[in-house]
């Protein structure tokens, strides 16, 4: 039986398939707690978890807070833009000061890739990466895997397309690591200007034609078009993006599988990367992803903090 040995969760790249399976299996047992009337178990009573978000977030932040609270942990959230970071305090100092309040874990989202890694080396508390630049977003990758496994019964052997701005996406990278380790085939699709060069080296296929890709995949994961990129001329216009890479009923008519699963990490730009009718339709599991996010994060917190303190 796999035992969790890591102090931190910084990314999916370093995990092996057994560790990922352990998290997903543990999350199964946690999903039920959110259906109870009293959505709480006493497991992490007395533990303190600090959420430190240097970038905006709705889902991830609420999800981590609720996951901690449902495990009876004490949790506080610090937004960098209302903190002393504005006065010039360094990340290291901020972390050390917070740690001096005797906490058990920091959950951090930061725009700098590697920031959680540096934090993990600096403090003895556990660190969970809630997104570091375009590098990784491991809990999103895990909840995507959980959702796929829930809807399809397995991950191995499935074909999964990730569509959109791969270049700037930490979700895509975590998804790729997770899916490859669990035995799925990954196809990336998007404008060439938003596709990282040599990404095939991660063991994925690259296509620039959504209508071709959609015929062969079991799952399609749409990434948000980051609207600020249009200003940097990475694609001619949002309209052109929507026409070529937006998912809508007409694209599905080109031969998509009847049981195709549609995913999106959120927030959605309705009508751009995904049409509203599909976003709200029966193939969409977008809201399931959010529900599963709580279970997966509870599992991560439990595995990191719930056991033997060595």
């Amino acid at each position: 039986m796999t035992v969790w040995k890591r102090k931190d969760l910084l990314g999916l790249e370093a995990l092996d398939a057994e560790e990922i399976k352990l998290i997903l299996d543990t999350a199964e047992s946690f999903k039920e707690i959110s259906t109870r009337e009293i959505k709480k178990v006493p497991t992490l009573r007395g533990r303190t978890i600090v959420n430190f978000f240097f970038e905006p977030s709705t889902r991830t932040r609420a999800s981590f807070e609720l996951a901690a609270k449902r495990l009876s942990a004490d949790t506080i959230s610090i937004s960098a833009n209302t903190s002393s970071v504005l006065k010039g305090e360094t990340l290291k100092d901020t972390a050390r000061n917070i740690e001096a309040m005797k906490i058990d874990m920091i959950v951090m989202r930061h725009s700098c890739p590697g920031a959680p890694d540096m934090l993990a080396k600096t403090i003895s508390s556990s660190v969970v990466n809630a997104g570091d630049g375009a590098h990784e977003h491991p809990t999103q990758g895990l909840l995507d895997l959980f959702t796929i496994r829930e809807k399809k019964g397995k991950i191995k052997g499935l074909k999964v397309a990730i569509v959109g701005d791969i270049l700037h996406s930490r979700v895509a990278r975590s998804d790729i690591w997770g899916l490859k380790k669990m035995g799925a085939e990954v196809i990336l699709c998007g404008p060439p200007t938003l596709m990282p060069p040599e990404i095939e080296k991660m063991g994925v296929r690259v296509s620039y034609d959504l209508r071709e890709v959609i015929k062969e995949v079991d799952v399609v994961n749409l990434l948000r078009v980051q609207l600020e990129r249009e200003k940097r001329n990475l694609f001619p216009s949002l309209r052109e993006y929507a026409v070529l890479f937006g998912l809508n009923k007409d694209v599905l008519k080109k031969g998509a599988k009847k049981d195709l699963v549609i995913m999106h990490p959120g927030p959605i730009n309705r009508g751009i990367e995904l049409s509203p009718d599909l976003a709200d339709g029966p193939c969409s599991v977008i809201l399931d992803q959010v529900t599963n996010g709580i279970a997966v994060r509870m599992a991560v917190l439990f595995l990191l903090l719930g056991g033997h303190k060595s």
Partner: protein, 182 residues
């Protein structure tokens, strides 16, 4: 950890007779199955709960909701145990409010598992009462907990272990005493 089997104290037919007797005792004490439900504690207790519920239905007929509890998240010793505990699913698919809950486990020892189960059950709602049905009571309580229905009382020393093996999990039905702590 050197463990050797000392004695076999129950075989398959003994276990079956005990479950039959406990089923009758439950019906005698509660007079009817109307507000009854049975909840087993993973993993041994869950198997026994299913068998017990089946017996009660055979004798008395009628609906008898069955639930399963995994108490791992309610343990008071999570930071002390070396091995990482496996968390399994809890399945209580019915409302336990105002119900008489027959809580079932295989071995009653220190009583801490039952304490976890009580806390967890009450988080699901306010039952009318909770009655405890146990296959083996081996003594050495560390909390003031007692069983309402007991299969067999087996005095043991702390250095011994009682192992309940059930067909559903271990391919054989038997209860054995082993020397050496778990």
């Amino acid at each position: 950890m050197n463990r050797r089997t000392k004695a076999r104290i129950m075989d398959a037919s003994a276990i079956d007779r005990v479950i039959t007797r406990i089923a009758h005792e439950i019906l005698e004490k509660n007079k009817q199955t109307k507000d009854l439900c049975v909840v087993g504690i993973r993993r041994g207790g869950a198997c026994l709960a299913e068998r017990l519920a089946k017996k009660i239905r055979e004798i008395d007929g009628g609906e008898l909701p069955l639930g399963i509890l995994d108490i791992t998240l309610y343990r008071d010793d999570l930071t002390a145990i070396a091995e990482q505990p496996i968390v399994r699913k809890t399945e209580i698919g019915f409302d336990i409010r105002d119900k008489k809950v027959i809580l079932v486990d295989d071995v009653l020892f220190t009583g801490r598992t039952i304490r976890c189960a009580l806390d967890q059950l009450i988080d699901f709602g306010r039952p009318k009462n909770i009655q405890l049905a146990i296959l083996i009571d081996r003594g050495h309580r560390e909390l003031p907990i007692r069983a309402d229905y007991v299969g067999k009382n087996v005095p043991t020393s702390v250095a011994e272990t009682i192992e309940v093996r059930l067909k559903e999990l271990d391919e054989v039905d038997e209860v054995i005493i082993m020397e050496g702590e778990k």
